[in-house]
């Protein structure tokens, strides 16, 4: 079969049409990225008077720096907790909404709101809720016999940024899970009900396996989110503390550059993060095509 194609008579018109996109990409991604790569192989003295080329020394130093490796570990724990918590809650909500689809519109509208809140504002919100002296959340925990203080307790601090970060992401995950559940034909669930499978069995053996492409997609999205978009949350709530317990990689990039004034190291860290996000995106593209056919 031959398809009709639109052909441009002018050679430059197509380039003109994609030009704005290319300019935006260049200004906001390619240029800073190349700057980061350039910076990552240089070392500046503390007064910014002298720069010298040091090759991969910045990277070598990073991987032998225990503070950096610790931050790596903190980030892995943090993103695993954020992805697990936000996806778990979203899945439970989606399964419940799938059963009462008539009121799902209300559900959906209310649940999408948190997603519209900027990370920094989400951070401030939760900072207030769990402030040890004035927060209602901290007060409630106190009533339950738990002495909440994320300024002193590293686990409390981690819990706080995990909750603040996951809360924003629940709505996004919920929408995808609900759409995934609704794409499963009703008759499959009914057939399983006739085949002696109770609600839990149906969920584990029919719905969840059929949802696996969605789970995989969201896993990557949530890890990317936890790695790269949570700077505002950390900055507004714990500021990396207590000690360095909640210094995740993006936060460390910023702190080393603007507080530590170590531009070379910070740039090297940015390059590493960039490699990670490119790898995750590649995985995403490689496997996202695997769809279920009913």
């Amino acid at each position: 079969m031959r398809t009709k194609r639109v052909t441009f008579r002018h050679r430059w018109l197509p380039y003109l049409l994609v030009a704005p996109q290319i300019v935006i990409t260049a200004v906001f991604f390619l240029w800073p990225a190349s700057q980061a790569i350039y910076q990552s192989v240089l070392r500046e003295d503390a007064f910014g008077l002298k720069t010298e080329f040091v090759g991969l020394a910045n990277f070598e130093r990073l991987f032998s720096d225990s503070a950096y490796l610790e931050s790596f570990w903190t980030t892995i724990v943090f993103s695993a907790l954020v992805a697990g918590l936000s996806m778990g809650i979203a899945l439970v909500l989606a399964v419940m909404a799938d059963r009462v689809i008539k009121s799902a519109l209300v559900y959906r509208t209310v649940l999408i709101w948190p997603y519209a809140v900027a990370p920094a504002i989400a951070g401030v919100l939760w900072w207030f809720l769990f402030n040890p002296t004035i927060g209602i959340g901290a007060y409630a925990m106190g009533q339950l016999g738990y002495d909440w203080n994320h300024f002193q307790d590293g686990n409390d601090a981690m819990a706080l940024i995990v909750i603040a970060a996951a809360w924003r992401q629940v709505s996004y995950n919920f929408l995808f899970f609900l759409a995934g559940l609704q794409a499963i034909p009703r008759s499959l669930i009914e057939a399983a009900a006739i085949d002696n499978a109770g609600p839990f069995k149906r969920f584990w053996s029919i719905q969840l396996p059929l949802l696996s492409p969605t789970v995989f997609f969201l896993l990557v999205v949530n890890v990317v989110y936890a790695f790269f978009e949570t700077f505002g949350i950390v900055h507004a709530t714990t500021g990396g503390g207590p000690g360095n317990e909640t210094v995740i990689l993006v936060y460390k990039v910023w702190r080393d550059a603007f507080e530590g004034l170590n531009l070379g190291s910070s740039a090297a860290q940015s390059v590493i993060l960039m490699v990670i996000v490119i790898a995750l995106t590649a995985i995403q593209f490689r496997y996202i095509e695997r769809r279920v056919e009913y």
Binding site: L188, E190, I194, D195, N196, V292
Partner: protein, 351 residues
């Protein structure tokens, strides 16, 4: 093995749609009961209530003498074949068939034995490791059948199981279903809107219209003595012709004194039903037909035209040798014993 009794079953959907206003029917043990009717008449609704997938608003359903209204689908000892087959896409053919048995806690060895037996009967032995998407439509249909028979249920429920197959395969599978059901002697309810499927499969045929039963009986009885005009039109292909007429003391006449039957009646204004296959060409016949279209099917053919005397549309099925040319006017007659008389207002049969 079980009989099924539906006693004043009623269904009102949330939102107030009364799909079934109150319906009773008895299905005997080992019988294949076909529900047939136009789209939206409530066939699927009825079947799904028997399956337990739809709540019953009123009345009582019992299977094998046991009231099942409040039982879960799994506890009713039924199996269902869905129109889209509803195979589990992530499981192999074997796993699809074994799923129900596994959930019942059947021992592994027995599951293997029963799945293999069913696969043998249905000719699926070579496909057991495949996923549903690697099968043709006909093979998927067999897997759906296999999933139903491995569990050896008391009742089979079929909701238009053949409507996704092409015409030839549909005919072949129809015979296989009939054969299988008779061999297993399992009571079955079969929903279709295809009248030839209904005629060939049914022990008991139920014609439904707007949630009500129009007529119940063996298919031949419904063909020979349809109780209403609706049934007469629905059963038989091409459908029955209706010509307005008069059935009085001087016999059955149409138009200006065209006599079809001499025997006296006292019905007055009627609708005279004539099956296309009961019309024959006859130079001395009372009907004069303007032929418009002729469909030749091989051994026979269908003639579409108008009755000259009344202006009514008419279809006749004739043997190939007696087919006219389009544009011709031909005379036809019908055996008076084959006439059906219906009330013009209510559509009820008059004799």
């Amino acid at each position: 093995m079980a009989d099924i009794t539906l006693n004043h079953i009623r269904k009102v959907y949330p939102g107030g749609v009364e799909a079934i206003p109150g319906l009773s029917v008895d299905i005997e043990d080992g019988e294949l009961c076909v529900l047939v009717g136009p789209s939206g008449c409530g066939k699927s609704t009825l079947l799904r209530m028997v399956a337990g997938l739809e709540e019953v608003t009123g009345g009582e359903i019992s299977i094998g003498g046991r009231k099942v209204n409040d039982l879960e689908p799994a506890d009713r000892d039924i199996a269902m074949v869905f129109q889209n087959y509803a195979l589990y896409p992530h499981m192999s053919v074997y796993e699809n068939m074994a799923y129900g048995l596994k959930n019942q806690g059947t021992p592994k060895a027995e599951i293997r034995e029963r799945v293999n037996e069913a696969a043998g009967i249905l000719g699926l032995a070579d496909f057991l490791e495949r996923k549903p998407r690697q099968l043709s439509g006909g093979q998927r249909q067999r897997v759906a059948m296999g999933r139903a028979i491995v569990r050896k249920p008391q009742v089979f429920l079929f909701d238009e199981p053949l409507s996704n197959l092409d015409a030839k395969l549909r005919m072949k599978t129809r015979v296989e279903i009939r054969d299988l059901q008779q061999r297993l002697k399992t009571t079955a309810i079969y929903v279709t809107h295809d009248q030839s499927e209904a005629m060939t499969l049914a022990d008991k045929l139920v014609v439904m219209n707007a949630g009500r039963i129009e007529q119940v009986g063996p298919p031949i009885a419904l063909y020979e003595r349809p109780a209403t005009k609706f049934v007469a039109e629905f059963i038989g292909s091409p459908p029955m012709n209706f010509i307005p007429g008069h059935a009085g003391a001087d016999g059955v006449t149409i138009g200006e004194g065209v006599k079809l039957d001499d025997r006296p009646h006292q019905h007055g204004e009627v609708s005279v039903g004539i099956r296309p296959e009961h019309l024959v060409r006859d130079t001395a016949g009372p009907l004069s037909v303007d032929v418009r279209v002729v469909e030749r099917l091989g051994a026979s053919g269908n003639v579409y035209g108008w009755v000259e005397q009344t202006g009514s549309e008419l279809v006749a099925s004739l043997t190939d040798a007696t087919l006219p040319q389009p544009g011709e006017t031909m005379r036809m007659s019908v055996d008076p014993a084959m006439l059906h008389l219906f009330d013009r207002e209510t559509g009820d049969r008059l004799d």
